[in-house]
Symmetry: C2
Subunit: 207 residues, 2 copies
């Protein structure tokens, strides 16, 4: 049913999830499509259409049960299990993620980090063991992490990404600011382009 959902709709799902978590934290039991739409600067019909892509969850005249809808979206996003992730690159950005980012909320468990700086090898950083990047191939083959997070220099991005995918990594979270062209084009890549975000802000200022 959800094979061909538009990327725009998929990208809204985590936003719905975030708002539903907030409603849940405020002990709000149910919400109408129009109230949810207003919170998210959408239209009620857009909200209903979005959920219809996944089978629809509302009840005419009642709206959505917050707990149920939150759980359903968590299932859709596959964040209820525990996927294993590794960090490739243990510099400032990796440390920011290790120390502050709530991986658990995304159904992800951070199992190891890799770097080329020998002074970091075989220590733990925020509870995460750091190893030599030269051992990453061996590690991935042995431990089968699902996700690789690329927080290494642009220049190493392609080489490392292709090794990881060859060894069975199923998805790449790419912070290197470069578009990856993988030997296996079927592997999902999620790019975090900081510059695009700053440019959107720049556009909005003084308008």
């Amino acid at each position: 049913m959800d094979k061909n959902v538009s990327p725009v709709v998929v990208r809204r799902m985590p936003r719905y999830y975030r708002h539903l978590c907030e409603l849940h934290d405020k002990n709000i039991d149910r919400i109408s499509s129009s109230a949810l739409a207003e919170r998210m600067s959408l239209t009620a019909s857009q909200v209903r259409q979005d959920f219809n892509c996944f089978g629809g969850f509302g009840q005419q005249g009642y709206g959505y049960n917050v707990t149920d809808l939150k759980a359903a979206i968590a299932e859709i996003l596959c964040i209820t299990g525990e996927r294993k992730a590794i960090l490739c690159g243990a510099g400032n950005l990796a440390r920011a993620l290790m120390s502050n980012f709530n991986f658990t909320k995304c159904g992800v468990s951070l199992v190891a980090a890799f770097d080329s700086n020998p002074s970091l090898f075989d220590v733990e950083m925020f509870g995460v063991p750091v190893h030599s990047i030269s051992t990453v191939e061996q590690y991935v083959s042995a431990h089968s992490p699902d996700i690789a997070i690329l927080t290494l220099p642009k220049s190493d991005a392609h080489k490392v990404a292709n090794i990881l995918v060859k060894c069975g990594v199923k998805g790449i979270w790419n912070f290197t600011g470069t578009d990856l062209e993988l030997d296996d084009p079927g592997i999902p890549i999620e790019n975090v382009h900081f510059s695009e975000s700053l440019m959107v802000l720049s556009y909005q200022i003084d308008r």
Copy 2:
């Protein structure tokens, strides 16, 4: 002309810009709307419509001049000047931005950072002076930075953001993972939600 451009179109502008920079770097002089569309997984008519929101830049039968279109988009995004930005919070994420992020490419110059940790005061970090967060109000009033980048703990986000806006900051780049509700709702805020990005990747894996 561009007062009411849809946010979706605005959000594509930095992507166009990135692709045009890549074409420019490869010494490609011109590109058709269909070729540009294919690079970006859009349709040619979408590309033409997007640019028409800003007056249109192509020529029937010729396509787009890469250098001219790149320059026009840079103007639209207001990244040709030099806006001043400050970092509020000088932890790992701020350091990652200071050391690796190309602010200049976005028309932004990083002028100062602020933190609550006294061991960081009055030193330079990657060439950026760090001051006490308790002096940020005074600094903003005196130096009028355009953009504040929030890389501080969630718990301080609202308080600091409202102070900054009161002193004249024109836009907020928000990495705190919380939605800000400002006293002045007219100030643009660009949120970077890492969790939404990771959830989109999670959705795509195994589909």
